[in-house]
Symmetry: C2
Subunit: 134 residues, 2 copies
């Protein structure tokens, strides 16, 4: 069975889940090359849509994602990657997970987590703030 | 903060996670209308890319997904929906989760779960087999 990269212009969504806690940490996109590079290196490598190039998660912060399992859905157009996350979090705003906001009953987004690190200490060069952009 | 439906032609990926087990069950896409309908009804409603219309998950099988929490990522272009899944599974091939295959060391996909239901007993009409297509 081959991964179906055809449905979204050569990209498939790749969900990243912490293998120990079960927390969903983030979602990125992969093209065939980033998928092959993820398999080869053992670290999660996305394709950045905004920068139009491969993007190794953690390349500037050091917060890489060690691949523990790669799963695919029934029609082979979505990946679920279970990882061991290195460092205090994947979110460039300083949270463990990118999904740190939940909808409340009034339709407003509220924080559901506390910061685990100070982004300014991790992403020092302004240019690197783009790191977390998908 | 508004959900950013602009990056992928009006659609955002919506990850569905079992709120109790933490298992990632599936990924679908939502447009603004399906998101509003999800909020209004309390059941997960996707936008089907293959059928080009709203698709309430479980509309034919009865295996609906009851929304318990809606989360959004930092740049507001991906949703994480925590649910109580009704019924034995979301996968139209008979598994609890759509991610029932894992990559082995030889690069082959292997089953990582056992069937929880018999698809033929749930998806009776051939036309309904399209239900699980995104």
């Amino acid at each position: 069975m081959e991964i179906d990269f055809g449905k979204s212009g050569g990209l498939v969504p790749a969900i990243v889940q912490d293998e120990k806690t079960g927390d969903v940490l983030m979602l990125g996109f992969m093209n065939d090359l980033s998928y092959q590079e993820t398999r080869r290196s053992g670290d999660v490598v996305f394709f950045s849509r905004s920068r139009n190039k491969l993007w190794k998660k953690g390349e500037s912060s050091g917060h890489v994602l060690k691949v523990r399992d790669i799963r695919v859905d029934g029609d082979a157009d979505t990946l679920l990657i279970q990882v061991e996350p290195i460092g205090p979090g994947v979110c460039h705003e300083g949270y463990r997970s990118c999904f740190f906001r939940s909808l409340d009953q009034d339709g407003k987004w509220q924080l559901n987590a506390e910061r685990t690190f100070t982004p300014e200490n991790v992403y020092r060069a302004p240019a690197r703030l783009g790191e977390a952009k998908k």
